[in-house]
Amino acid sequence: MKTTAAAAEQTEQPENSDQEVISRVLAGDRDSFGILIQRYSDPLYRHALGMTGSPDVAEDILQMSLIKAYQHLAEVRGRFDAWVFRIVANGCKDWLKNIRRTHLSYEEDDQPSSYATPEEELDRTELRSDLDRALASLPASLREAFIMKHVEGRSYEEMAELLETTVGALKMRVHRAREALQVLLEEKYA
């Protein structure tokens, strides 16, 4: 399940395996936690960004999740990447629940622009905006499955392990998400 880059890094430097790094951090080497951040933050950020649609919110969730992971590092059982993914995924779901509870609607225009440069702003094509809105309209479980499959590139088996459900259930979620997105977007993009 580890990303190719993360897996390759650990193969080349076994002394920097996740378990080795965790042991050093727990022994007091706080700076070594940065290795884990560099290794896994990209896929985690993409997940949070896909689920929330907001770069600012995704950053907040990622930061809070990584700090929480540090605080509870001694509790890691099994793979660190799967464990920290669940922290991020739960953070996203909590944010979404809070949005619904406070009756806020995620409308792209309401979000403050968080892009660093004007070029990044321009890069937000109409398709990007429409796909963001379509994803935001999906139930969280379908959105999550679609993002994990298409944006994060995970296999159904990886997804089943991370989300603690079956491959069959996940295939159904991904299929439904695809069909719903096509219904929402095909008039404009077919």
């Binding site: 995620y106 309209s137 298409h150 219904v183 993009y189």
Partner: protein
């Protein structure tokens, strides 16, 4: 198999979602192609050719999303926010360094002198 939809198409906003079960159904071949298990030409059968073209178009944006990197300041912010050292060493009291201010030292000295004088008078 595709169900019929009104030409105007559904509007979408946060929280709204087309009723499941009444929507479009993509063919198993299209799903298999999107899963990476079939080549595109095998998925293009009949109406499915339209679906393949649609998803080819969407893929152009999804591919960009796969390249998104974490903003560079995030790691710095996380490391700065981490709690302090995880282990604290407590030194035994008799090995701790004690710092005494000069004024306190002077007063203590004067007190000892006064005590000595008092004892001398009492014993004398």
């Amino acid at each position: 198999m595709r169900s019929d939809f009104s030409k105007s198409g559904p509007e979408f906003s946060s929280g709204e979602f087309p009723t499941l079960g009444s929507g479009l159904r993509l063919s198993p071949e299209v799903h298999a192609w999107l899963d990476g298990r079939l080549p595109a030409h095998a998925a293009r059968k009949g109406d499915a050719a339209h679906d393949v073209e649609f998803w080819n178009r969407i893929e152009s944006d999804i591919a960009k999303r796969r390249q998104v990197r974490t903003p560079v300041h995030v790691q710095r912010a996380v490391m700065a926010a981490l709690p302090g050292a995880s282990r604290v060493t407590v030194r035994p009291w008799h090995l701790r360094t004690v710092t005494v201010a000069r004024g306190v030292l002077a007063l203590g000295g004067a007190a000892l002198v006064a005590l000595g004088l008092a004892l001398g008078i009492a014993l004398g």
